[in-house]
């Protein structure tokens, strides 16, 4: 085979570099355009009324999304409160207590399948499980759907972080005569806490943007729900409904809500980046 000339090599190098750089620039530009569009259309909607008022009837200017804000916060908070500890405990089982056993592999694979399940399917499942038997949409159904999304993701991340990080330290702790309980909670969890915290924050950021699982479960509400057993409004479902509305002022509110949601997720992601500096991992997480 004849060797390529230096000129040819440089040409190919230049072409490939240009193509890859172009693609990278394009994906970055998408983000920039998205943020510009959100700010331009959404910022004017973020008035005091937006945060404090209930939705106005169609065609009336004075509406807000206070109910959706409250509903979203409640549902995210409660689902995280239930889902995160459950997921961490499941992850401890898979990654430490039963590690390298067939049971653990089985549960890990199940979690993998579950976290890959489209969230609309989860929503549908909760719809048949809770909404149909109870006869109405409710905040509880929404929380259930979000919890079902959090658990497998958290369990898998916890297990993976533990498996990656723990051999040297767990052996050291066991060699000193520590009990399994002590090794797990005082050495291993301590070692992975920052990585774990960051992963959990990212999971929470992810479910904050979920719309599909709430559509069939919490539905929406034009008023403030008295309790979580009533249909509950959320920011994401509000965006969905208002964006499709024929009324211009509702479209504006949808933009404002979208901007708010994006800023929230951005903030959580940034916090996760900062907290997530792994302190003791045999190889870095990212």
């Amino acid at each position: 085979m004849k060797a390529k000339s230096l000129y040819q090599r440089r040409l190919v190098n230049f072409i490939m570099l240009s193509i890859t750089a172009g693609c990278a620039l394009f994906s970055f530009l998408v983000l920039v355009m998205l943020i510009i569009a959100l700010c331009k259309n959404g910022y004017p909607a973020l008035t005091k009324t937006f945060f404090t008022a209930l939705p106005a009837p169609p065609g009336v200017d004075e509406g807000g999304v206070s109910n959706a804000l409250q509903g979203s916060i409640k549902m995210i908070l409660f689902s995280a409160l239930i889902g995160v500890p459950t997921g961490i405990l499941a992850g401890l089982y898979i990654g430490e207590l039963a590690r390298n056993t067939r049971k653990a592999d089985f549960v890990l694979n199940a979690c993998g399948i579950l976290s890959g399940t489209p969230t609309i399917v989860t929503g549908l499942f909760v719809y048949t499980l809770i909404v149909i038997p109870s006869g109405h949409f409710s905040g509880f159904a929404g929380i259930t759907a979000l919890t079902l999304i959090i658990i497998p993701v958290t369990a898998r991340i916890t297990a993976e972080i533990l498996v990656q990080s723990s051999t040297a330290m767990r052996e050291a702790a066991f060699a000193l005569g520590a009990s399994q309980w002590n090794v797990t909670f005082f050495v291993l969890l301590r070692a992975v806490r920052s990585g774990l915290a960051s992963a959990i924050l990212l999971t929470i950021a992810r479910i904050s943007g979920e719309t599909a699982p709430l559509l069939f479960t919490a539905l929406n509400n034009n008023y403030e729900a008295d309790s979580l057993s009533q249909p509950t409004a959320s920011i994401t479902v509000t965006i969905f409904q208002y964006a499709l509305s024929p009324f211009a002022e509702r479209n504006d509110i949808a933009w404002g809500a979208a901007l708010l949601l994006t800023l929230f997720i951005l903030a959580v992601t940034l916090i996760a980046r900062y907290t997530g500096k792994p302190q003791y991992l045999s190889r870095p997480l990212r």
Binding site: T101, M169, G177, A178, S179, N182, A191, Q279, Y280
Partner: protein
């Protein structure tokens, strides 16, 4: 390969190849020692693969004993069997037994956690816990529920002095243990391992991840601990074994070939195979 005069004819490798049982060449000097750890007819299997064959070795009290041999000869496996850290791997099966000051190590009635508290272990790579220096050292006491601050502080100082680290860290006991250098971390791990006053200290290539200066310090430390602690050390480095240990055991392919005083093992071994290994002819 010519046999030196006085050497037993080398037939171990042939015997191993034929699958015959190996009887360790144990020097008579061992019989004059107080024995801390006694390994009897010990066999170990990883699944179907046998890793240790008929190991018989007596580890003398207050001495430094080195296990040497080429990679994969089972020296780390033997060391990790002493405190049953191998139990963490579910595929391990053993035959035979070991005795720590006459108490059996492998027995259904043994509480492994209590057993491990009687030993200390130092690993290849320094592995401090993500806590302060102080908390690292007193961890063995913490797991026993010790809360008395005076006791903890006293043990911390004593252990760090014992590991020749006190002067370097006494002003920053509350700093993270991950902030000190690798050599200091390894001495911290030694301090942690001796905090509960173990009957035997197991060291698995304690210097292999360290630079020459840090290695030197650990070797000095091992030298200083002689007499007070019973140390069983795996090393890949023959010079290190020759420098630091009182007794040396040569292992090959899961068998213990020869065991005796370090000077004799390196200068006038009884077996041809040991002679070949310590002179660098193989391994």
């Amino acid at each position: 390969m010519k046999n030196k005069p006085g050497l037993r004819k080398g037939n171990f490798f042939e015997s191993i190849a034929k699958g015959e049982r190996i009887v360790t060449e144990t020097h008579a000097e061992i019989n004059n020692e107080d024995i801390t750890l006694d390994v009897k007819e010990f066999n170990l299997f990883y699944g179907a693969k046998q890793a240790l064959f008929d190991i018989n070795i007596k580890i003398p009290k207050g001495k430094v004993t080195s296990l040497i041999g080429p990679s994969g000869c089972g020296k780390s496996t033997l060391l990790r069997s002493v405190n049953r850290i191998n139990d963490l791997l579910s595929i391990v099966r053993i035959e035979g037994n070991m005795y720590l000051n006459d108490d059996p190590i492998y027995d259904p009635a043994v509480d492994v956690i209590e057993l491990r508290k009687r030993m200390g272990m130092v690993f290849q790579k320094p592995n401090p816990f993500p806590m302060t220096i102080f908390e690292n050292v007193v961890y063995p006491l913490r797991i026993d529920g010790e809360r008395n601050k005076n006791v903890l502080a006293e043990v911390c100082e004593k252990s760090l002095r014992g590991a020749a680290l006190w002067e370097e860290v006494k002003d920053r006991l509350n700093d993270s243990a991950l902030a000190i250098s690798g050599g200091q971390q390894q001495r911290l791990c030694i301090a942690r391992a001796i905090a509960a006053e173990p009957e035997v200290l197991l060291m698995d290539e304690p210097c292999s991840a360290l630079d020459p200066i840090a290695t030197n310090k650990i070797e000095d430390l091992i030298d200083a601990m002689r007499g007070e602690y019973t140390i069983l050390m795996v090393t890949h480095n023959m010079q290190q074994a020759a420098r630091t240990s009182d007794y040396t055991a040569f292992m090959y392919l899961g068998r213990l070939i020869e065991y005796g005083p370090t000077g004799t093992i390196f200068q006038a071994p009884h077996c041809q195979e040991t002679s070949d290994y310590v002179t660098g002819r193989f391994g």
